[in-house]
């Protein structure tokens, strides 16, 4: 399997194969993080999800959000479905939990922008 490491702008081209004994053969990485990334990517690829959520009564219409850790790539669409129709109330601070344990991944969806109460 051919991969391009996404951990830094260097973008190493990595080749990874599993031997019959179940051991990983990894070639082409420049640092240990690249090797770990390749094995993770070959077994269970992880990504951080970022999106935005509707806000009620805030000085912004939407609050940006992210998962507080990487989640399995194949849980992204399910996680997004869970955000549909959700509205949260202002005020919101950076780091506030908007959805706990999103799609059962163990990660929380947290706010990445501060939203104050709308001044009328």
């Amino acid at each position: 399997m051919q991969l391009i490491c996404i951990l830094c702008p260097r973008g190493c081209h990595i080749e990874i194969n599993q031997g019959e004994d179940g051991k990983w053969e990894v070639k082409g990485y420049a640092c240990k993080r690249g090797r770990d990334y390749a094995i993770q990517e070959a077994t269970c690829p992880l990504r951080v999800l970022t999106t935005s959520i509707w806000v009620e009564g805030g000085n912004h219409r939407l609050v940006s959000a992210k998962t507080d850790r990487s989640i399995p790539k194949d849980k992204i669409i399910e996680s997004l479905k869970q955000t549909k129709g959700l509205t949260v109330k202002a005020p919101i601070d950076i780091g506030d939990v908007l959805i706990e344990n999103i799609a059962g991944t163990g990660a929380n969806l947290i706010a990445t922008r501060r939203v104050d109460i709308k001044q009328v």
Binding site: I4, C5, I6, L7, C8, P9, G11, R47, V48, L49, T50, T51, S52, W54, H60, R61, L62, S64, A65, K66, K73, I76, I77, L80, I94, T112, R113, R114
Partner: protein, 427 residues
Amino acid sequence: MNRKTEVAIIGGGPAGLAAALSCYKHGIRDILILERDEYLGGILQQCIHNGFGLHWFGQELTGPEYAQRFIDEVNKVGIPYLLNTMVLEITKDKTVYAVNPRHGLIEIEAKAVILAMGCRERTRGALKIPGGRPAGVYTAGMAQRLINIEGYMPGREVVILGSGDIGLIMARRLTWEGARVKMVCEIMPYSTGLIRNVRQCLDDYGIPLKFRHTVIRIHGRERLEGVTIARVDDRRQPIEGTEEYVSCDTLLLSVGLIPENELSEGAGVMLDPLTGGPIVDEFRQTSVPGIFSCGNVLHVHDLVDYVSEEAEIAGEGVYRYINGRNPSADDYLLVMPGNGIRYVVPQRIYGDSDVEFFFRPNAIYDKGVVELTDGDRVFASKKLLRMVPGQMERLRLKREALAGEGKIKSLQLRWRGPDKEDDGACS
């Protein structure tokens, strides 16, 4: 409203915020930030994806989080700012004219001005794509603002022209919001965005990236109905017989950014045609004494971390200027781009301190050396495994390197190594 200030900062995005804090750190207390939007933070507020701050904070942040750290700091030390405030004119003697709904016309007399207006996107007009003018054609950044800030979905079936980072990020964002992104067309034989973004935004979702392809026609009257794409030759001209119709209701353009310098030109600031931004010295002072520049208005950066760094330098420059510590204005060395280099910033230096040069190559080059030379002697150099136009590089010149070297008229930054990898040179 009339007022005086030591430093007026035009723009409250990442460059303006970091420049204001740098001025403050150097002991300047009378600072005013002017921001045309209704909040500070600039374009970062709509860049809700992560990947910011690895260099500056040593951790991966989203755009709004990165911005908020600077905004909190500005509020903490109490630097004043005016929001919803549009600067109309800056004069050579550093009077700034602006308007906002609360104060009407504002006249600000400043000792120093920092230009931090950022850049704007190239539009359809700049590309001259033939066809009607239906709704559904957006710049990638506009679509990003609609989805992430305003909460509108620009369309359902999308073609993206240009593989710049914003286009790639938007391909994923639109996919996540339920749109179908049919393809990304890139006129060059390589992506102008970071490879990690090609990987995690396109490959992850099976979105094809078509190199050496462009959009040659836009179809539709009221709403976009489709585009005609075609392959291009080595001179980037469409090849007859390769045309293909692609139906879509939305076309996003991610085809480059242009420093926004109308105000700078009005103040008589000299621009560099290679960067589209002002010509500056190592403290980011422009050709007009007391007017400084940093961030994307100076040259387009790919990492906000480097914008923050550059803004710090400009703040130090303002401190030196206000305290009369600047070298004599005529005593500078010119620095020009040589073989393989598209541009270099700063374009002139006094050389009485270390200088960090930012530069970009004009094509892809592998395994060689970038060197700063006067033709005979080399004053700074760096080995590079690879340099690509989509990635800004840097080189540090030590102050000692120039000392005692006799009279040097000008310097050149050049590439020494194998020729460029591909003929499809970057414009």
